[in-house]
Chain length 371, copies 4
């Protein structure tokens, strides 16, 4: 378990991020044209192992649809601007145009409007009408309140996403969501997270979830470390949750819960590494917020930036790099890992001799030197 003695009364486990590892070639190579990146969860099959993070800077109903048509799975944040405003364009522009020092306040104002259940219905209908898989996300805090509306609106993939979601939330004041009961009663598959440890993920798997999101659920890693002292490096988290998937498959007599890496994925190389650590698919925020069509207009933010007492993130500039199609399928115009994500993944798999995502989870990796 890689335990290191920090001092006589405390040990720590060595943990690793994607930056610490690399994929290595083996004795075989393969044609990139022969590689498949397709991925299935429940009854749904996707050509790309890409799920969008439900964040207003990346996903509007339009980009949810566009991503679906390109072969991925778009997910709309059902507590975001699109369910608070009939037309959030003005808010998105205010956010994009705010000076950096005003940005937290502008975000707080924009998100202080109430969520309108009828807008949830309307947005999901728009997505279904386009013929792509209908997926929407709620936070665990509001799932009980809003899930009925969401289900009635015909969601096909239900995402419950928070910084840390546990199957065992304790509260003296609020009756917490009983995930197991909730998921049992649902007819649609659920993806739930973030979870970063073997045990937390195993418990989530036992709730009946179809997929577990691995990561600190949209939390900006550097802020979380400074503010909370919490850090869960992604390579270790994904490899731990992949072990939970294997052990849960054994204990459940064969139920395969999908592992979706959610965080620390800034380049196409990171996507390859996430799969190498055991992920079935990746949830992307920043890299999709760089698309020309992204509603964030070159800015990216998460809901934790809106907190009035303890903001743990901020609006950050990511720029506008290329149309969504180029970001996913190329061509890329620079060797920076920001575009043609899937082409790069295919080449990474081909160079190391693998032909599908599940097999590629077995590729050899190295611990990088410290240069």
């Amino acid at each position: 378990m890689n335990q290191v003695e920090i001092g006589r009364a405390k040990s720590a486990r060595a943990a690793y991020s994607f930056d610490d590892i690399s994929v290595v070639p083996t004795r075989r190579t393969r044609d990139p044209e022969d590689v498949s990146t397709s991925w299935s969860i429940d009854a749904y099959k996707f050509e790309l192992p890409v799920v969008a993070a439900p964040m207003d800077s990346a996903m509007s109903p339009a980009t949810v649809i566009a991503l679906g048509k390109l072969g991925g799975l778009g997910v709309l944040d059902l507590e975001g601007l699109w369910t608070r405003y009939e037309d959030p364009t003005a808010q998105l522009e205010l956010i994009a145009n705010a000076k950096q020092e005003d940005s937290t306040a502008v975000l707080q104002r924009a998100y202080s409007a109430a969520i309108k259940p009828e807008l949830i219905t309307e947005r999901l209908a728009e997505i279904r009408a386009a013929g792509v898989t209908v997926a929407g996300a709620l936070s665990p805090q509001r799932t009980a309140e809003l899930s009925a509306v969401v289900l009635k609106a015909g969601v096909e993939m239900f995402v419950i996403r928070g910084n840390t979601v546990s199957a065992e939330h304790v509260s003296k004041t609020v009756e917490p969501l009983n995930l197991k009961e909730f998921i049992y009663q649902l007819d649609v598959p659920v993806m739930v997270g973030g979870a970063v440890t073997y045990t937390a993920a195993l418990h989530l798997m036992r709730t009946g979830a179809a997929g577990v999101l691995v990561g600190f659920g949209g939390g900006a890693a550097s802020s979380t470390r400074k503010v909370l002292g919490i850090h869960a490096p992604m390579a270790t988290a994904v490899a731990d949750v992949a072990a939970a998937r294997r052990d849960y498959m054994d204990e459940s007599g064969g139920r395969y819960v999908h592992v979706i890496a959610d965080g620390g994925l800034g380049t196409s190389g990171d996507i390859a590494k996430a799969i190498a650590c055991g992920a079935d698919a990746v949830m992307l925020g920043t890299v999709l917020a760089r698309a020309a069509e992204a509603p964030g207009r070159g800015w990216h933010w998460g809901q934790e930036a809106v907190s009035k007492q303890l903001p743990r993130g901020a609006r950050v500039r990511v720029g506008t790099h290329a149309p969504l199609e180029n970001i996913l399928l190329g061509p890329a115009d620079a060797p920076d890992g920001h575009a043609n994500l899937i082409g790069a993944l295919k080449r990474s798999m081909a160079t190391t001799g693998y032909s599908d995502v599940k097999e590629f989870q077995r590729v050899d990796i190295i611990l990088n030197p410290h240069d």
Copy 2:
């Protein structure tokens, strides 16, 4: 013990700072509202596990009182400007306004005035009158000389703080303070340090101290490394002294000596990490010097900066961030870990499923990757 061979004739122990570790979530989460951060030492109970470092840049009688009213423990440096000057305002302004190249000389002049025992009495009386716990600090060098005045002035918590305080100081020229006898004769609880090793701390615990300060006692870490070659990374030091607390509790038949981390605490995340390593409370300097009320006016310095032969620190700019209340209890206006320290600590504890400080000492930690 993590021994590493440096060369054939010398081994070293691997040591770690707070920056090297992080707290990790577990399978349970909790409501931040259900979390308690209260802390008791001797007969005194505090809502916040926060002790102020006795430094003139952070603590005046007024900020000692303000901190006490917010739930922490303020400590006045009884060898500082407040016991050398009837009104130190002019000196504080000279220090704040000095050019950087003159600052050491200005500090040396300010601290060359004699300590007036009657000012010790007056300052402590002012604090007691405000109804908060009365705590004052002396260096080990002057404890014998000034302690009678301090006790007579009605101190309730006696702090003896130096760079390194041992229970076994050897001198050919001066009769050293016999800590054990001194503490035995006192009626008030004593916090003493800095100590950074298991053995040094165990010996201090055996003197009868109520609390041990873990750290290089106010020494600026980077200067100490360059000038003296000495460094005691805090995560290791706290975890070692926590082991001494446990072993001393066993040997003493149940006396619990409090471990107070004193150094390396620049953000709210560091406070969570210090407790995770075994601290019962933290002694804060820099982060309190950033308060609007801080007498340092945005500057911070320690007494080791005043040394005429061998300055081991300097006046440093920390800026003025927010009122003391916001720094401790929020709201924070930026995700930098400099404000709402207690709100952040509560969220860190809640996210990892803990509800009080003593329990939180058991939280799992990781060794961070080197990115």
Copy 3:
């Protein structure tokens, strides 16, 4: 095998680059004048253990000849500008003069001209006429198509070089080159690579190759890491392939396959380290592109920068430092490891007491501290 647990379901091997290691002196020293750097492969003997990377920025027919006369082995890229244009001067100037933002497009245009087999014949004839060893390189993709021309043109050393070349390439659409058959039928020795693992290299050795190129075959390391997530630190790769050389020598009853380090060689110190890890010779690109005679005019690029879908490199500025002779044989005018490569190698060998390249493979090395 230096395995590190990344997470419960994945382990990684710790790998090292040349920057991570250093050569150390032993108890003996030697005169630099007594040191030999000569190297033989097949029937060819070279005073310098230096092979040029077949890249247009470094090697023209003229620099191939110049390098050969100085004692090394020049290699012409037979799919480069010299076999696409009767006179590539205009193209080289366009590339050198392009603005950085246009450089990828300019490279793509320059390399879109067809390869003319008669130019292969002409260029190799020019090299043979100068009396130096005739060496040319093809990619594995075009070896089948162009090798007949190359052989007929009288090549004496055949180089097959790609990012990753395996003895076992799998393709559903194209009949891959059967390296073993191909090499068996040839009368001339073959150097083939890149290979970065023990197994991949062992398989290449079994094809009958005279030398294996160790490295990611001209891929720009930083881009490859970002775009593909692939990284093969060179010190580990060379030491692994050296073990394959030893084991293959045993299994083959004594056939010695030469190990040529190809990548990560930015300074003369890196050349010493490559040999210390087990290399017989080094393939140099960047350091030769800095020569005054280099066709790149101070710029350096690889063919992977030309890719239209997924560029994994770019034109980079390396500057023009000194004439080729000074770069190899000195004098150097600065202590930066960019010139007098062979003089530095000799001094490194002499200082540590070794007198020839094969012996120097046994020199002690250290893992550098992280400062």
Copy 4:
């Protein structure tokens, strides 16, 4: 032995520099006034464990005398400017005033003048007349040629110093110096080095040397790494040679050979660390070149910068910080470890409870975290 597998065919030993380690306090503290830093070698006793590096930028006859009067041992480079020029002032000014790009050429010209034996005699006479210990240094290459003059001139401590000096130098063209015979015939004690390994140092000890210089003998570490690929981190080197001292004392029946750390000593903290690793004394170059009296006028260089074929160093700016006395004995005016070196060493020893240099070799050290 801390072996790390770099690849299947090569292992490396982990090595450490002074920056990687720190001294740690123990359970005892002591008065700095009670600490002695005195050091004896052969019949000579010095109050300070400080030997000057024989480099023209730091040592003139005048600074040799000044250092001796302050309690250290000054050493004149007998192949430097002071034995090439009746009055080297003009040369020193040319060097100090040269533009950086011309500095190597200016150095080469200055050192191209011939060494005049009569100046060796004159310089050493001047030092003896001042009543301090007379020490001079030659390179191993010229020891045979010039030693008779040096001895006749009345040297009391003979220093033989090169990048790497071995007891077993091999040359086909020049009869190498037989160190053992040479030292046996001498009446004066010899310090010899650099040596960086246990075995090399043990062999030097067996030649009869009174002291071994540990380090790469004046080589600029960063250039040596880039140019030669050689690096010998000082903490490991000193601790290895200290083991050789212990083992040689056993094998010789009690002869104590002094270990003098020579390199990597930029601050007072580094001096404490060198002793903690086992050094009896330190040889200082850079820190003495910062003295107001230093002949380098704020510049520092070594003879390896003069090499015409392969310069492995350069003239570097070190600035002029304080008079020599302040640098050694204080007061310091900044907390940077550049002044009051001995006061800092005494405080470091006192804080950790030690009272003399030999005892302080046993102080505990830690491996620093990577922050």
